[in-house]
Amino acid sequence: MAMRWTNTLKDREVTDEATFLNRRQLMAGAAGLGLVGVATGASAEELKPNSFEDISNYCNFYEFGTAKEDPPKYAGALTTSPWSVKIDGMVDSPGDYALEDILSKMTIEERIYRFRCVEAWSMVVPWNGFELADLLALAGVQSSAKYVVFETLVRPEEMPGVKYPVLDWPYVEGLRLDEAMHPLTMMATGIYGKDLPNQNGAPLRLVVPWKYGFKSIKSIVRITLTDKEPATSWNKANASEYGFYSNVNPEVNHPRWSQATERQLGGGLFAGRVPTLKFNGYEEDVASLYTGMDLKTHF
């Protein structure tokens, strides 16, 4: 079911694209009234989307290289059609799902989310996509399932970065089932009403706005439902730095740098840093998922 969550955005013009998008958001919000409402952080009103150019030219996608300029340079070679996602594990209908079949059953909506990278930079992205819960419903999650595991494509002939053992390829990420089912958690297929640029994880990526960006795995080819906490790529690479949860938390520092503040993309050379918000500003929406957990231990 789409439109379970809506932004409370003001019609604040940044670029033409943003104006277009804000209007669409407000309309979506109006349409969504009466449906299941999810509380939104008050500061959502201040969200100003970054430009399409910034979003598509500044990202990490190590399969294409570790420099920020590598993904936009090399991801063009990625073949994103045809595309299918293998859904397996504890589901009623395992199998290879063609992307167009998935999309034909989904309602694409627009959501403006904060995006906070573990490297202490952040941006605001107007995503297009659908809730992960809707995709999981398609496959039928069995009651024994507790976690969702995601896997990124590995295609060495199109991904020059996988020649190097920067990480243990394929890139793997995971969520607890309740995190995956949360209405904020979405599968993105586009930004600014356009198809996702390849470097941003085309044709299908995860977006979990209250977690550090690396959790929002790109170019997904496999989704597995399981009852065990999966070993995820960054956690395997360095467990003391990248926890399974990796919720945005200004009180828990990365061992090598502070997470208390962030540099907002697009602010220019003299913008400095701004304070980082707990759960990236989505505390009202998601804090209840972690009731009783020590977030310093389960970082």
């Binding site: 190097y164 090598r256 740098w257």
Partner: protein
């Protein structure tokens, strides 16, 4: 060694001051580019990295001067002070961007220096370079005497090792580039070790002769 001697005689005709002009122009060019959107949407980090990496490169080049002369006869000794000082200027600019444009808050700066090992190591590297930059002038060389001056300036190796370690420690995942820098620095150190750690007396003479 006809090539090396003709190269050396060509170098003798080239003054060292244009290196400082180049360095200043490049430093400010990078700053201008970062300030005007030429370095992408996160110019603070981009400028910080550009200055830091250039500083490390120049440190490596500075360290390569002696082995180059030892193994090929080509002598860039005349330019070594300008190269070393340029490295220092880039690294000072790298630090300044971090202090003034990036972290900004004094308590956070101190926190980072104390708690973040890669920053501790980087600061130690800068602290190592500081006395070298301050004593890079002719007067200091005269005052200290060539032997103790040379001894002090061997700290360049330590500074390069700390800089290389700083780079390795700050990247995410297993990345090649910082390891390559470290390998080159260790290689230069080994080459120097084989050639004997002391600067030969003729290079000290050369150094004094070339003060400009």
């Amino acid at each position: 060694m006809a090539i090396s001697s003709s190269l050396n005689s060509a170098f003798r005709r080239v003054p060292t001051w244009p290196l400082y002009i180049l360095c200043a122009a490049h430093l400010s060019g990078l700053f201008y580019s970062a300030a005007t959107g030429g370095m992408g949407p996160e110019p603070i980090k981009a400028l910080e990295h550009a200055y830091g990496e250039m500083g490390l490169k120049l440190l490596v080049v500075t360290l390569a001067v002696t082995p180059l002369r030892k193994y090929t006869g080509v002598s860039l000794l005349k330019f070594r002070r300008a190269l070393g000082l340029s490295a220092f200027f880039y690294i000072a600019a790298h630090l300044a961007v971090w202090l003034v444009l990036d972290v900004q808050v004094i308590s956070r700066i101190w926190d980072d220096i104390v708690k973040r090992p890669y920053i501790t190591v980087g600061m130690a590297g800068f602290a190592t370079l500081l006395p070298l930059a301050l004593t890079s002038n002719n007067m200091s060389l005269r005052k200290m005497g060539a032997a103790s001056w040379r001894k002090l300036h061997r700290l360049t190796y330590l500074a390069a090792l700390l800089g290389g370690a700083h780079y390795i420690m700050l990247v995410k995942g297993l990345q090649l580039e910082p390891l390559v820098y470290m390998a080159v620095i260790l290689g230069l150190l080994a080459a120097r070790g084989r050639a004997g750690l002391g600067v030969s007396s003729d290079s000290a003479r050369q150094l004094r002769k070339n003060r400009s």
